[in-house]
Structure formats: C-alpha cells, structure tokens
C-alpha cells in the first residue's frame, strides 16, 4: 500500500515536471471559460450599448458595438414616460420589508426547530420542508380572489404579504442553526435564568448572522426580480420596477432605446449588490444553501 502511494506520488511529480499538471487548466480551458464569460456578459453589455444611443443608431448596419452619448437623455425619457421613480421606490419598499420579515421569521422558526424540544416538532418540520416543492405560482387565482376580498389589489400589501415568509428560509436557518450553536451554550444561558426570547436575542441572532446575510441577500434579489404575481395584482399606475419595465416594453411602437434604458435601470441595483457581495452569493449557492 505504502509503495503504491509512493509510486503514485512519483508519477504525479513526473507529470508536474513535464508540465502536465493533471488538474491544472490549460490554454483551451481558459479559452472556453473566457468564451462562456463573454457570452454571459454580452447581453447585459448590449443593453447598455442600446441604452446609450438614439433609435437611429440601433437600426444601423452593421450594428454599433460601443456605448454612445445618449444615456442620460434616455434615462430622463424613461422617468418622463412611466412612473419609474415611483416603481423604484415601490420595489425598495417591497424588497426591503420582505427581506427583513423573511430573515426574522426564518431565524425564529429555525431556532425553534433546531434547538428547542416540543411536541410535534418533527412532523411540523417535515411539513415545512415539503412545502418548498409546492408550485405556488399555481395558486394565483385564489390568491387574487383573497387580495380582492381584502381590498388590496393594486396596493403594495398584495405583493408584500405573500412574500413575508418562505419555507425555504425556515429550512435554511434550521439547518444552519442546528450546527452553528452548541447546545451547551444554550444550557448555560438557561441556568443563568435567560428566557427563551432572551436566548434568541443574545445568543441565536448573533450566531445566525452569516446565514442570515446570505438568506437576506437572496430574498432581496428574488423580491426585486419578482414579476408574475406583481404583474397580476398591481396596476401600471403603482408598479414595481419589473412591472413598470414590462409596460414600458408593451407600447405599440417599440422604442428600443427607451425600453433598454429601463432595463439597464432595473438591472443596475442588483448588479451593484452582486459586484459587492458576489463572493458570499457564490458561497451560498455552493454550500447547497440556495434554491433558485
């Protein structure tokens, strides 16, 4: 056994010496990855190109490939044409409140499921996890009826309230907290006379911060990008960014410069968040934490 390992090591070393590092990436790997990268970036870059030209430039053959000087004119036109400022504000309100709520309630429930003993815990946990697979989009008709009964159609409550909790968040926080907090720590807190709520506040919340950050990030991005339900229940007069964008695109004459400027405006906040916190987002996905 030992000799075999030694032989392998020797072979490996020889491979390395010959420059054939078996796991290293060669020219073609880099070439292919750069091509993938360009493919990922191009449509976004292209929207920026169109957004910075007037409509004459877009119809030109061959197409222009570099940004022009009309971006700010186009942005002004977007704000003149639609309620885009209102839409931005609405999206911040919706995504912000949904994020705070999902993180808070998921951490609370995750704490209970991971660290507290109570009757029916396992059954309830399985129920919560099973609901992550439910195709919720298919319940929109009754959800709409419900919102109409409450008088919420056209109002932000109709978008915020259905997003306040997610089964996925509960699942994620349960998983994270069960390994992140030593039981001894909670026991010690109990002996010192801490109530459960104080344990939650002083022990659990600080310990939950890394997972809460990832969950918050993803919840925010999902809420910001959410389209179908807001389209159904909101009106073009009081839209979120995605709804405003879709009504911008549905004019009778297609003003590409205008529409793609709106697109750029809708993408920018998310891309900024992504550029700043991409590492954490990737970590979240790769730790199996995140469902699309």
């Amino acid at each position: 056994m030992a000799t075999l390992t030694a032989v392998r090591r020797g072979l490996n070393r020889r491979a390395v010496q010959r420059g054939l590092n078996p796991l290293g990436a060669g020219f073609w790997t880099y070439a292919a990855l750069v091509a993938v990268l360009l493919g990922s970036l191009f449509p976004i870059y292209w929207s920026l190109v169109v957004a910075s030209h007037d409509n004459d430039a877009i119809a030109s053959v061959p197409p222009v490939l570099t940004p022009g000087g009309h971006l700010f004119d186009n942005i002004a036109r977007v704000f003149d044409t639609t309620a885009f400022g209102q839409a931005m504000l609405n999206s911040v309100l919706v995504s912000g409140s949904v994020t705070v709520s999902v993180v808070l309630f998921s951490t609370l429930a995750g704490f209970a499921f991971a660290k507290l003993r109570f009757r029916g815990r396992n059954v309830l946990l399985v129920m919560a996890i099973a609901t992550t697979t439910v195709p919720q989009q298919l319940g929109i008709i009754p959800l709409y009826i419900l919102m109409a009964e409450l008088g919420w159609t056209g109002r932000l409550e109709a978008v915020i309230v259905p997003g306040l909790v997610t089964a996925f968040g509960v699942f994620l926080m349960t998983q994270y907290l069960s390994s992140a907090i030593p039981d001894d720590l909670l026991e010690a807190g109990r002996i010192d006379g801490c109530s459960t709520l104080r344990l939650f506040w002083h022990v659990v919340l600080p310990a939950a911060r890394p997972a809460a950050a990832v969950l918050g990030l993803f919840t925010f991005m999902q809420a910001w990008n959410d389209f179908f339900w807001p389209l159904v229940v909101l009106t073009p007069e009081n839209p979120t960014v995605q709804v405003a964008l879709s009504s911008l695109a549905s004019g009778y004459t297609t003003d590409y410069a205008l529409v793609l400027t709106g697109t750029v405006l809708a993408i920018v906040p998310i891309v900024a968040v992504f550029a700043a916190l991409g590492r954490q987002i990737i970590g979240g996905i790769m730790s199996g934490a995140i469902k699309g």
Partner: protein, 308 residues
C-alpha cells in the same frame, strides 16, 4: 426571601416558556404560509369545480365540466406541446453545458472568483430585463442574431413567427439565465469527489474524457437528479419569458398563432384576460398534477445513470 416567595410562580413561567414558546416562534411561518401559500393552492381545486367568472356574480357548481372542456380544448394541448418542447430544448442542453462548465471550473484556475461570478451574473438579472434584451437581439429587422446570420450568408429568420424558431429563442433565454447557476451546483458537488479516484484512473491510463464520464458523472448522480427535478418544476411553470417575448407585449396569446403559448401563459390568459377563474383553476390544477408526474418521471430516469 424574594426568590422563595416567587419560586413556584417562576417555575411555572419557566415551564410555560420552555414548553410553549417554540410554538410561538414557528407560528408566524405556519399562519402566513397557510394563508398565502397552502390555502390558495387547495382552494384552486374547489374553484376549478365551479363556473366562476370575475365579471359575473353568479357562481355555479359544475363538477368536472371544466376538466372535460379542458381535455377537448385544442389551445390547451397546443400549450402543453409548447411547454414540453421549450422545457426539453432548454433543460437538456443547459444541464449538459453546466456539467462541462463545472468540470472546467474545477481545474486549478487563476481568477477563480471572477469566472464564478461571471457565470452566475445572468442568474441575478431579472427575467423581464433578460427577455426584453433577447427579444431585441432576436428581432426580425434590426436584431443582432439575424445580422450575424446574414454575415455568414444565411437568410434572416423571423424568430417570433415560427414554432421551432420561437421555441429555440425562448429556450436560449432560459439556458442563458440558468446554466451558470447549475454549473455552480455541480461544481460544489465535484469538489467533494475524492481525488484518489481520479489518481487511480490516471494510473490506468484513462483519458480526461473517460474520467469525466466514468467518475465525475456517476458521482454527481444525486446532484443531477436534484437539478433535473428542479428544472422540471420550474420549466413547466414558465410564463414570463413567452409573455414578454411577444412584440407589443401585454398580450398573453404567445404569438399570433399561439406558437409559443405555454400552459402557464394560457392559465394567465384565461384567468386575467378572460377572467374565467373556474377554467383557469382547472388549468392550474392539471398543470400541478403534470408537474408532479414529470418530476417523478425525471427522478426515475436520472436515477438510472449508472454508477461505476
């Protein structure tokens, strides 16, 4: 003194806290999710058994009539065909490409984070934005795709007009948005495969490709099953892409001949442009059943990837 007096009471409060408070902590989730997640889905089943039009206050119990109508509805079968076609055209190439990209990302790389962020970027941009951009790229007159086709001597294609061409274009939107995400899921799984396996294979003279086929893919089986099932659940519900791909959108027919109307889009048309809530609910419930069946079928198929 004080503690002795309040002893039994404190113990009672303590007991209440330990036994009762967990329910308090999980209550917000279950109450809210029950009201806005579970209840609507179950209530859909009831609505689907009625003749319920938003504009008509008379609601009649019609039993399975909506379902009978659905089975005989050509638009429904057309939508189902389109859904399956777009789902196949998008899922299969997407997962294959994701496997290869993950395989490349799994090498020792410079600028590792840059590449990973690059492949994930499409996934964080909104469906609306992405679809609008692609609809422009696939435009008949000034689209860049047609310009590129012209450059290599091919005729321009009216992407929206054809059945296959529109399915291909819509699938490309899905592929563009989801390949990188799946690649990262695969990459995470690849990093747990023990290096010894590859080393042994190399000793046996196995090529890179053989190693990929005989070690990587079988070891990734659970992950591949997971991604296939998730893509099925998502792919069958596709609505936003076909809705926004149509020029002069806001029109839920999915093209002038319904050539790319999906089941989700048909549900939207019946529910929110005809206000036929009963019929739309029947579509929703049928689609839900189809998704369950397809997810199980997918699970069965991907489970059969041979382990070496």
């Amino acid at each position: 003194m004080t503690s002795a007096r309040s002893g039994p009471r404190r113990r009672w409060i303590y007991q209440l806290d330990v036994k009762g408070s967990p329910y308090l902590y999980i209550a917000p989730f279950f109450l809210l999710f029950g009201a806005v997640g579970m209840f609507p889905l179950l209530y859909t089943a009831y609505v689907s058994l009625t003749d319920w039009n938003l504009l008509d206050p008379a609601r009649e119990w019609v039993g399975l009539a909506n379902y009978a109508e659905l089975v005989a509805d050509d638009y429904f079968w057309n939508a189902l065909f389109n859904t399956v076609s777009i789902w196949l055209l998008s899922t299969v190439p997407q997962l294959l490409a994701a496997l290869f990209i993950a395989h490349m990302l799994n090498r020792r790389l410079r600028a590792r984070t840059l590449f990973r962020m690059g492949v994930l970027l499409p996934n964080v941009t909104s469906i609306v934005a992405v679809t609008i951009i692609f609809a422009q790229l696939f435009g008949r007159d000034f689209g860049m795709v047609n310009w590129a086709l012209d450059l290599v001597g091919l005729d321009p294609i009216d992407w929206q007009a054809g059945t296959l061409s529109s399915h291909v274009a819509i699938s490309l939107i899905v592929i563009w948005r989801w390949t990188g995400y799946n690649a990262l899921i695969y990459l995470a799984a690849m990093q747990t495969i023990p290096e010894d396996l590859y080393e042994a294979a190399r000793l046996d003279g196995a090529s890179q490709f053989t190693q990929f086929r005989k070690i990587t893919v079988p070891m990734l089986r659970p992950t591949i099953i997971f991604t296939a099932v998730v893509s099925t659940i998502g792919g069958f519900q596709i609505i936003a892409e076909p809705l926004l791909f149509q020029a002069g959108t806001g029109n839920p027919t999915g093209g002038s001949d319904r050539q790319f109307q999906t089941v989700g889009l048909y549900l939207y048309e019946q529910g929110f442009s005809m206000y036929e809530f009963g019929y739309a609910s029947a579509i929703a419930w049928t689609l839900c059943m189809i998704i369950v069946v397809m997810a199980l079928v997918n699970f069965a198929i991907t489970r059969r990837i041979r382990s070496s």
